[in-house]
Symmetry: C2
Subunit: 379 residues, 2 copies
């Protein structure tokens, strides 16, 4: 059994997911290392010191640079980055739609021009699986189409049907790759991805069809792409119950601390988001009482850490005044320290969430934490 369900409270759940590189305690926040490194000068060694459970790397970026064949020759992402714990790779699909130019979607896959050097690339389910196999992640994501949030039924239904056919091809291809003698990580697992925009019946029907394939886990994609928070929560309300409860559920690309708590409350296990690293690089840092802008003049002589009691490497050593100075002076160290704090904040929040569910106090934890986050009472 790959997924052990440890504790539940309503729809919220906490589990343990077994992978070739160790156990993932859920709910978990995956730290986004696009090109096999977290933006903000954060190394694999740093990740160990801030409680990271899973590293997420981007297939498209690594295919373009340094090339997945290069990563394979170097022993796969774990050896390349020196990160010893689980790694998830996305399918490349999202970047094809968001970054690449002049794409053409056909039944076989997608043709597009690389955003770095303009060369033409073709990627379909088989290509995505081959690249992810070369990267050697523990969890490979299915190659799907992520349609625009507010697309019409006439666009979404055929797109979702094709995404389902692509999922079957992904499954067959990964089985084949895992059986090859020189596969980097023969225990690599495939997660399917639910799509359907904000159209309930398409979401539900697709969730049921992918669940029948009995994959190790399932993601909900196509959210956090322009719809409102209420629409997103509604999609979770109708879709998560249609996915296997005794398998991990991954909400892709989400989100704020509030989003994560609301989604955990609806049964989600896995999250990923660029907010903590991107906001850190802009001097925005997270606390249990809301976000702080370190550039604020109010912190010029403030000798307190970002958040009192925080055990991250930044708060254990440096003052708001020093961080403010570094960020105002555009010193790389300021960005690094802010990103380290933010990732620790997210990882630690997930630890608090897991403890609350496992200790049977999820409801009160949820209410108190959301109240504090909304208060914005930074001292």
């Amino acid at each position: 059994m790959l997924y052990e369900l440890i504790a539940e409270s309503g729809r919220a759940k906490s589990g343990r997911f077994h992978t070739p590189h160790g156990v993932i305690e859920t709910p978990v926040f995956m730290n986004v290392g696009t090109v096999a490194a977290i933006k903000g000068a954060v190394s694999a060694e740093d990740l160990l010191s801030i409680g990271t459970g899973v590293l997420l790397c981007n297939t498209y970026h690594l295919h373009v640079r340094p090339g997945d064949e290069v990563v394979k020759q170097l022993g796969g992402l774990h050896t390349f980055t020196t990160w010893p714990k689980p790694i998830l790779t996305d399918s490349g699909g999202f970047q094809v739609y968001s970054l690449a130019k002049l794409r053409a979607i056909k039944e076989e896959g997608v043709s597009f021009h690389c955003h770095i050097d303009g060369r033409k690339i073709f990627m379909g389910p088989e290509e995505s699986m081959t690249i992810q196999s070369n990267l050697g992640s523990d969890i490979a994501m299915a190659f799907d189409e992520c349609p625009p949030a507010k697309a019409e039924r006439e666009y979404i239904q055929p797109s979702v049907d094709r995404t389902f056919r692509w999922l079957v091809r992904c499954k067959n291809k990964l089985d084949e790759l895992n059986a090859l003698p020189d596969t980097v990580n023969p225990g690599q697992m495939l997660f399917g991805i639910n799509q359907g925009g904000v159209i309930d019946d398409i979401r539900i029907d697709h969730a049921r069809r992918i669940s029948e394939l009995d994959l190790p886990g399932y993601a909900i994609g196509g959210l956090a792409v322009g719809e409102s928070h209420e629409e997103m929560y509604h999609v979770l309300d109708v879709t998560v119950p249609e996915l296997p409860r005794k398998k991990p559920t991954y909400l892709m690309g989400v989100g704020t601390p509030e989003n994560i708590i609301e989604a955990v409350d609806r049964g989600v296990d896995f999250f990923d988001c660029v907010y903590p690293s991107r906001n850190g690089r802009h001097g925005q840092v997270y606390t249990h009482f809301g976000k702080m802008n370190l550039k604020n003049k109010a912190y010029e002589l403030d000798t307190r850490p970002i958040e009192e009691g925080c055990q991250c490497p930044t708060c254990r050593r440096f003052t708001r005044a020093y961080l403010r100075h570094l960020i105002k002076a555009e010193e790389m160290l300021g960005l690094r320290l802010a990103v380290l704090h933010n990732l620790y904040f997210y990882n630690h929040l997930m630890e608090e969430i897991r403890e609350a569910i496992r200790d049977g106090r999820w409801e009160s934890f949820k209410k108190e934490t959301l109240d504090k986050l909304k208060s914005s009472e930074i001292k």
Copy 2:
């Protein structure tokens, strides 16, 4: 006695210099943290892990941002940065000449426009000492004029005469500041600076005059500003013997590993240079066999560390292949890891130099190390 002379070999010497924040073992390389941080996302905590003996901060930059009064209110540079060991501040003079626009030099000091916001600033000996006192460094540098390398005698002689008068004013002002009740670091020491371009008799006469002031240490300034290596070595040959042997001698802004070895051989104790951090940020890293450009295609599949046997945090964990990828992808982590390696290389080279002098094998160490550096036989 502030300076203990431990060992000598010809003019080369190794000593111990006592400061309010501990002992500096010499010869030493001071790591340049311009605005109270090393460029390349390197923190005070990192400096402790790469064998840094002294942190150098730039008075002009800190006066402009965050302001020396702010740093004073925050307890001085040691508290601000959390760096517990000795700090040296330059006088601001060099930046006034190299960065600021529309300067006007008078007997009182220099008027100039700030390179950040254009506001008019006046700095003379008293202002420089006051700023450095607010910063609370262990070693304050005298406010001097650094004339162009190849200026004529007609320019250099009056400049050096004024620099001498400024030194007397610096000494008087620092004595006064150190006696105030709220001084950050009342044990702050003043180093005088020898100038004179490449004109032997002016250098020698000035060295003799400043030596008579019996300051805790002396620097040689105005080198590495455009003259040849041979001219620089010649200035050291004629000037160092005129400075007190039982006090530290500091060669400002120098230099390559070869420059440092040649200068140690001529009796220099202290060095500082932006090369290791600046070159690291461009993917250039140091080894005992010369510099490597990590962007080189040859390292694409190279799983060795930058230098076999190196004990820096980068070489202990990461491959050339991973570093090449990070630097090609312009990931901040690549710059950080290259800078950490380079600073460790410089700090460790100084440790090797100290051991060689103290163990009585300086001559053979010098020859072997220079031969290796010149070989450029990077494997």
